[in-house]
């Protein structure tokens, strides 16, 4: 296997992540308090405004998947009574805990001082932190974010979330940190968030160019890394996205396509929209199935689970808690199925896609439910064909490379035939 091609932004992101895990590994001895929380609907600015350290178990799980550690963790959790059917992020996290809670970079992870259960768009989060609460015996702050069943944000929903921030979340953050809520500090962090979000949206929308300078799924998951995890609201995130944007600007100016792990993509032959999370345990093999055929993902929904910014939302320092509420309510998996279909239709049209591909993940109910209906509806509305593949998040037993490759190749051949007869 050849060495992976890395750009400056990738190296910066790697350093950010590594530094964060390093800080976490010393948190206990340095007396720093740690808040475990989830990616969709995370309150990173609020957590950091109390000088608390965020730790995101989903990020640990996907990192463990990419580093080929997740299989053993999942087996360990199953040995302790967890079913083979349930979310593999949860089992990976529980298995990691049972095996000594060593993080994906090989450094120990601290215990949580607070479990901040933001419960956005995925019911399993609730069970996940109930399980962790049993293990750690620490307080939980629960933020219940109502599902957007009407496909739009209602004022009473926003107020409901704000009320909980006041009555439940902020008091517990004050208690754990020993600090008072500082709204000015929060506003400054939200200002930084909005700057980074502007650049992220610019990067994702750069895929409207032909050829696309980015892969908005396989590359996209790296691009959303800092803003979806522990860095939103920090100067580090602002710097990362400014650097990333400069790189993409240069690529557009040079008429270049995306950079893949094996180097520059030579020719863009197919433009795809992808729905669903990627497989992490065979991430590079999975990506290669696309770039070997010249298939570029120009838009994806997975890169919207930690925040849907390309529909106009930005964190707003003038309305701090209101915008945190809107952010939580607007994450992709918190949207109704019709709203998700509308978004996919928009992507197919605006990004001039040749096809829609759904990667249905066995253990992620919040994503997978309704995906076949979504596929048929997009085909009906746009005339663009869809295809369906199945894999898993971090369970290596559920990545069948031959089957997936076969399906992708068949789909791309079908796109060729449609062109030939058009």
């Amino acid at each position: 296997m050849s060495d992976v091609q890395k750009e400056a932004s990738m190296l910066l992101q790697k350093r950010l992540l590594s530094d964060h895990f390093d800080v976490l590994s010393h948190a206990t001895e340095e007396g720093r308090k740690v808040v475990y929380t989830f990616v969709p609907g995370n309150l990173n600015e609020l957590v950091r405004s109390f000088d608390l350290l965020p730790l995101l178990p989903e990020i640990n799980a996907l990192q463990s998947g990419m580093r080929k550690l997740s299989g053993n963790y999942i087996t360990e959790a199953e040995k302790h009574g967890h079913s083979e059917d349930v979310c593999t992020y949860v089992k990976c996290d529980i298995g990691q805990l049972l095996k000594g809670n060593i993080g994906p970079t090989g450094k120990p992870l601290p215990k949580p001082d607070l479990l901040l259960l933001s419960y956005t768009g995925c019911f399993t989060f609730l069970k996940w932190f109930e399980l962790l609460r049993e293990q750690y015996d620490c307080p939980v702050a629960m933020l219940h974010v109502p599902y957007q069943s009407n496909g739009a944000l209602d004022e009473h929903q926003r107020q409901y979330v704000i009320d909980q921030l006041h009555s439940e979340v902020i008091p517990k953050l004050e208690q754990v940190s020993g600090k008072k809520y500082d709204e000015d500090r929060l506003r400054e962090m939200l200002r930084l968030s909005a700057i980074a979000e502007d650049d992220l949206v610019w990067v994702l929308e750069s895929a409207k160019h032909t050829p696309s300078p980015i892969d908005a799924y396989f590359g996209g998951v790296y691009y959303v890394g800092p803003i979806f995890s522990a860095f939103r609201g920090t100067q580090s995130a602002v710097d990362y996205y400014a650097l990333l944007r400069r790189e993409i600007e240069e690529r557009i100016a040079a008429g270049l396509g995306p950079v893949t792990p094996d180097g520059q993509l030579k020719e863009e032959r197919y433009r795809l929209v992808v729905e669903g999370p990627p497989n992490w345990t065979s991430f590079r093999d999975f990506w290669r199935m696309f770039y070997d055929e010249g298939a570029v993902v120009v838009a994806s929904t997975y890169t919207k689970v930690g925040g849907l910014y390309d529909t106009g939302f930005r964190h707003d320092p003038a309305h701090p808690l209101e915008s945190l509420a809107d952010y939580c309510l607007g994450c992709y998996t918190n949207l109704s199925l019709p709203a998700r279909v509308d978004l996919l239709e928009r992507y197919v049209r605006e990004y001039n896609a040749d096809g829609l591909l759904i990667n249905s993940v066995k253990s992620c109910n919040s994503f997978s439910v309704g995906q076949l209906l979504m596929l048929r509806e997009i085909e009906k509305r746009t005339g663009v064909p869809g295809a369906f593949i199945e894999s898993d998040l971090v369970d290596p037993r559920y990545f069948s490379a031959a089957n997936i490759k076969n399906r992708i190749e068949s789909f791309l051949q079908m796109l060729d035939q449609r062109r030939a007869i058009a």
């Binding site: 009574g81 967890h82 079913s83 019911f123 609730l126 109930e130 399980l131 049993e134 109910n365």
Partner: protein, 241 residues
């Protein structure tokens, strides 16, 4: 919701008195279901699960007034049926079936394997509210009050006090049960993720238990029969009286 329901019913509005009347009707229905569960716990051989399940399930499609009468008739008839005799079965609580309902054959299988089910979380929606809803005052406030403060514990609800297994241990004790069967549908994250927490607590309390999964449309019960039968036998043979 009130406006939506009025539209569905083809009416201009649903007023407070309509709601109070409906609350009273459902209070009656919940009361007779509570009676049925009490009676079954007292004499499970009179009210086998495979029958109780069907009578309860009818409540999801019948007008509640008629369902209440049906259950009253069933309780009366079962009590008077002299062919129903106590058998040497184990008294178990069945948990994990709060959402996707099991095939009827699975419930029959549990009975044939020697399990008398004395409590369960089947069709829990019919018993979601654990007390009568007040018929005086603002009906919507009364409903909200009941939903928030007098509703069933379930894997699909957050347990703020941290005691996930409290309802199960309470049921085991209250119903004088001898064991617990955790039976969850495949791919049901709430039930399956709950299981390790329930198992750990049952172990700490010394409560005999067994676990298995089912698929909604399965017709294969041989393995479940073996497992439930062995469990029932082990309770009768080796549990401390």
């Amino acid at each position: 919701m009130r406006d939506d329901f009025a539209r569905l019913a083809g009416r201009d509005e649903i007023d407070d008195d309509d709601l109070r009347d409906s609350i009273a009707i459902y209070n009656d229905n919940r009361a007779v279901i509570r009676d049925l569960y009490r009676e079954r716990s007292r004499a499970p051989w009179l009210f086998p699960l495979s029958e109780v399940f069907l009578f309860l399930r009818a409540g999801n499609v019948m007008p509640p007034e008629e369902h209440t009468m049906l259950l009253r008739d069933y309780i009366r008839a079962a009590r008077q049926d002299e062919s129903r005799r106590e058998q040497d079965h184990s008294r178990v609580v069945l948990a994990g079936m709060f959402c996707e309902q099991p095939p009827h054959g699975l419930l029959v299988t549990l009975e044939r394997a020697g399990c008398d089910v004395v409590d369960d979380d089947l069709l829990v929606g019919l018993r979601w509210l654990t007390r009568d809803v007040d018929v005086e005052g603002d009906p919507l406030e009364n409903l909200v009050e009941a939903y928030l403060f007098a509703s069933a514990s379930s894997a699909s609800r957050y347990a703020p006090d941290g005691d996930r297994a409290k309802w199960l241990i309470d049921s085991y004790t209250r119903n004088n049960a001898e064991g617990v069967i955790l039976c969850a549908p495949s791919f049901c994250d709430p039930a399956l993720l709950d299981q390790p927490m329930l198992v750990s607590r049952l172990d700490r309390e010394g409560v005999p238990h067994t676990e298995f999964k089912y698929a909604e449309d399965t017709g294969q019960f041989a393995v479940i029969r073996e497992q439930a039968g062995t469990f029932s036998d082990s309770i009768r043979l080796w549990s401390t009286p």
